[in-house]
C-alpha cells in the first residue's frame, strides 16, 4: 500500500510540473499581456524600466523557475511564518497581483472561506440527497420511484447550473421574494437573526450546485448498488435469515459505497470549477469570482496562480481517490 501510494505520488509531481509549465507559457506567450498595452506616449526608456520592474525582461525559463520558486517555497514559507512567527521567507518577493498590488495568496486567503462555505455546503447537501435516492432506486429497480430518480438525474445532467440558478432566482427571489437575489459577503453571523439571514442567502446557490451534484452521485450510487445486489454474499445473508434492513444497509451499502466514495473525491475539484458559474451568478465573492475578475482585468499573476491551484486540486484529489480506493478495496491494491 505504501509503495503504491509513493509510486502514485512520484507520478503526480512531473504531471504537476508539466501543467504548471503549460499554464505559465500559455499566459506568458499570449498576445494580450499588459506589457503590450503601455501607452505609446510613454518614452522608450521609461517603458524599459516598467517592464524591468515587473521582471518581464528576463528569459522565459528564468521567469518560470522563479515563479515556481515563489509558488512552492516563498508562499508556503510565508504561511508558515504567519502561523508560527518564524522568519523563513525573510523579505522574499511574493507573487503580487497586478490589479491590487497585494500578494495573490492573501487575496485567495480572503476569498477562500466564502467559496468553502457555499461550495462545501452544496456538495454535502448534494451527497445527502443523492445517497438515499441512489439506494432506494436500486433497491426497487424499475419502480415509479426509480423512474422518477432517473428523470431527475437526466434533468440534473442536462440543465446547466447557470440556467437552473437563474430559474431559482426568478421563482424564489423575484416571484415569491423568499430569498435575496444576491449573496451579501459582508454579512457576519453573530446572532440568531443574522444566522437565519445567512441561511436564506445561501439557500439558492446551495440548491443550484447541490442538485447538479446529486444527479451525478445518485446515478453512481444506483449502479453500484445494483451491481452488488446480485452478488452471492447477498443471497447468503438473506438465506441466513437476516432482516432486509441489515442486508441492504449493512452488507450491500458498505460494499457499494467504495466506488461512490472515490467518485465523490474525484468530483471535488470539478465543483470548484463549476462554482465559478454559481459564484458569478449569485455574487458570492469567492475564488471563482476572483478568477473572472482577474481575467477581465488582465491580471496575469492572479490568473496563473488560480489556474494552477485548480490544477493542483485536480491532481491531489485524483491521488486521494486512487489511494482511497486501494485502501477501501484490498482487491485492487497494485503491489
Amino acid at each position: 500500500m505504501l509503495v503504491f501510494t509513493l509510486r502514485r505520488l512520484l507520478v503526480a509531481i512531473p504531471t504537476l510540473l508539466v501543467i504548471s509549465l503549460v499554464i505559465f507559457l500559455l499566459v506568458d506567450f499570449a498576445p494580450g499581456s499588459p506589457m503590450s498595452e503601455i501607452p505609446l506616449t510613454v518614452p522608450p526608456d521609461v517603458r524599459q524600466k516598467m517592464i524591468a520592474a515587473l521582471g518581464a525582461d528576463q528569459p522565459v525559463l528564468v521567469r518560470y523557475v522563479l515563479w515556481l520558486r515563489q509558488f512552492f517555497w516563498v508562499e508556503p514559507a510565508t504561511l508558515f511564518d504567519g502561523i508560527f512567527g518564524t522568519h523563513l521567507a525573510g523579505n522574499e518577493q511574493r507573487i503580487l497581483s497586478w490589479q491590487s498590488r497585494s500578494p495573490v495568496f492573501s487575496i485567495i486567503g480572503q476569498r477562500m472561506p466564502q467559496t468553502l462555505t457555499v461550495i462545501g455546503t452544496a456538495y454535502l447537501v448534494g451527497i445527502l440527497i443523492a445517497l438515499p435516492i441512489g439506494i432506494y432506486s436500486a433497491y426497487r429497480q424499475y419502480s415509479w420511484f426509480d423512474q422518477l430518480g432517473t428523470l431527475f438525474a437526466m434533468i440534473g445532467f442536462s440543465v446547466p447550473t447557470f440556467f437552473s440558478g437563474t430559474l431559482f432566482i426568478i421563482v424564489f427571489a423575484v416571484w415569491f421574494g423568499w430569498f435575496p437575489t444576491k449573496y451579501d459577503t459582508t454579512l457576519h453571523v453573530t446572532d440568531w437573526a443574522s444566522f437565519l439571514k445567512q441561511l436564506k442567502q445561501m439557500a439558492m446557490p446551495v440548491m443550484t450546485l447541490g442538485l447538479a451534484n446529486a444527479a451525478t452521485i445518485s446515478r453512481y450510487m444506483r449502479s453500484s448498488m445494483l451491481e452488488n445486489m446480485g452478488q452471492d454474499y447477498v443471497r447468503t445473508a438473506r438465506a441466513k435469515g437476516m432482516t432486509e434492513r441489515t442486508v441492504v444497509l449493512k452488507h450491500v451499502l458498505r460494499n457499494s459505497l467504495i466506488p461512490v466514495v472515490t467518485v465523490i473525491a474525484l468530483g471535488i475539484p470539478s465543483i470548484f470549477g463549476g462554482a465559478i458559474i454559481t459564484e458569478n451568478l449569485f455574487g458570492v465573492n469567492g475564488i471563482g469570482a476572483a478568477l473572472i475578475g482577474a481575467i477581465h482585468a488582465n491580471d496575469l499573476p492572479m490568473v496563473q496562480t488560480l489556474a494552477f491551484i485548480f490544477a493542483v486540486l485536480i491532481v491531489t484529489f485524483n491521488l486521494i481517490a486512487d489511494v482511497l480506493y486501494g485502501f477501501l478495496d484490498p482487491r485492487i491494491r497494485y503491489d
Binding site: T15, V18, I19, V22, I23, L26, V27, A30, P31, G32, M154, I155, F157, S158, V159, P160, F162, F163, T166, L167, I169, I170, V174, T181, P269, G273, G274, I276, I277, N280, L291, I292, I295, H296, N298, V303, L306, A307, F310, A311, L313, I314, V315, N318
Partner: protein, 306 residues
C-alpha cells in the same frame, strides 16, 4: 411466383446489423423523445430563417418597439434595442448547434487518432497516455476562459469578429475534450488488435495503415458514436458557460448562452428573455443525452438481443 420467392428470400435473409440497432433504438422511449425534439430544434433552426422574416424596422420604429411583450408581430417579444427575439433565437440556435457539432467533430478526430495510435503502436502508448492524463488534469473552465481572453482579439483580427470567435471557441473546446474518446478507443483497439482477423491480415503482410483503416476503425465506430453524441452536449454546455461569463460570442453574433447572458440584466422585468434561451439549451442537451443513452443500449449486442 418470382415475387413469392423474393419475399421468402427476404424473410430468411438475416437482419442487417444497422436494422437491428434501429429496432432496439426505437424501443428506448427517452431516445425516441430525444430524437424527435432534436430533429424539431434542428429543423426550426435550419428552416426558420426562410419561414420567419423579422420585420425590418426603421430607427424610429425600433425605438418605439423596445421591450415589447409577445404579439403577433413579435411572437417572443423584442429586446432592449427593439430586435425581434424569435429571429434572434433562431440565429443563435444555428450558432449554438454548429458549435456543438463542429467542436465534437474536432474532439472526436483528435481522440480517435490518438486512441488508435496509442492502442495499435506499443511505442506510442506510454507517451500518448501520459499526455491524455495531463490533459485530464488540466482545469478546463479556467483554462478555456484564459484562452478566450488572451487570443480573442488576435484571432478576431485575422478572421473577423464572427468567424474569429467561432473558430477560437470551437478549437478551444475541441482540443480540451478529446480525452474520453481517446481512452475508450485505445481500450477497444487493444482488444481488437489481438483478434484473429487482424493477426491474419498482418500475417499476409498488410501494412499498419490498411489494417487500421480496414479492420480496426470500422469496429470502434459504435463506442465512438456514443462518445460523439455525449460530446455534442458537453460542447454546447461549455460554449454557453463561456458566453454566460461574458467571454464567448459577441452580442451581434449571439448563441443561446449569449442571449441568456444578455437577458440576465433584465431578469426581474422580463424573465422570459432568460427562460427561452435557457430552455432551448436544456432541451437540446437533454435530448442529446437521451439519444446517447439509447445509442449505448442499441449498440451493445448483449442488451440488444433481449
Amino acid at each position: 411466383m418470382t415475387d413469392l420467392r423474393a419475399a421468402a428470400q427476404a424473410s430468411t435473409r438475416p437482419e442487417s446489423q444497422w436494422r437491428a440497432i434501429w429496432q432496439q433504438f426505437r424501443t428506448h422511449k427517452g431516445a425516441a423523445f430525444g430524437l424527435v425534439v432534436l430533429a424539431i430544434l434542428i429543423l426550426a433552426v435550419l428552416i426558420g430563417p426562410f419561414v420567419w422574416h423579422p420585420a425590418k424596422l426603421t430607427v424610429v420604429e425600433a425605438i418605439k418597439s423596445k421591450n415589447l411583450g409577445p404579439t403577433w408581430r413579435f411572437p417572443l417579444g423584442t429586446d432592449q434595442i427593439g430586435r425581434d427575439m424569435l429571429g434572434r433565437m433562431i440565429q443563435a440556435g444555428k450558432v449554438s448547434l454548429a458549435v456543438g457539432f463542429v467542436a465534437m467533430l474536432i474532439a472526436l478526430t483528435f481522440g480517435t487518432t490518438i486512441g488508435i495510435l496509442a492502442g495499435y503502436f506499443k511505442r506510442l502508448d506510454g507517451p500518448l497516455m501520459r499526455l491524455t492524463d495531463i490533459f485530464l488534469s488540466l482545469p478546463l473552465i479556467p483554462l478555456l476562459l484564459v484562452l478566450v481572453m488572451l487570443f480573442r482579439d488576435n484571432v478576431a483580427g485575422i478572421l473577423g469578429p464572427e468567424l474569429g470567435a467561432f473558430t477560437l471557441i470551437v478549437f478551444a473546446i475541441g482540443i480540451t475534450s478529446w480525452m474520453q474518446a481517446a481512452r475508450i478507443v485505445r481500450g477497444e483497439v487493444l482488444a481488437l488488435k489481438e483478434r484473429e482477423y487482424v493477426i491474419a491480415s498482418r500475417s499476409i503482410g498488410a501494412p499498419a495503415r490498411r489494417i487500421i483503416l480496414r479492420h480496426i476503425l470500422p469496429n470502434v465506430i459504435s463506442p465512438v458514436m456514443v462518445a460523439a453524441t455525449l460530446g455534442i452536449a458537453d460542447a454546447i454546455i461549455t460554449e454557453s458557460v463561456l458566453s454566460f461569463l461574458g467571454l464567448g460570442f459577441p452580442p451581434d453574433f449571439p448563441t443561446w448562452g449569449r442571449l441568456l447572458f444578455d437577458g440576465l440584466s433584465y431578469l426581474q422585468l422580463y424573465p422570459e428573455r432568460v427562460i427561452w434561451p435557457g430552455l432551448a439549451i436544456s432541451l437540446t442537451v437533454l435530448s442529446v443525452n437521451y439519444i446517447g443513452d439509447g445509442l449505448r443500449d442499441a449498440l451493445d449486442p448483449r442488451i440488444r438481443g433481449r
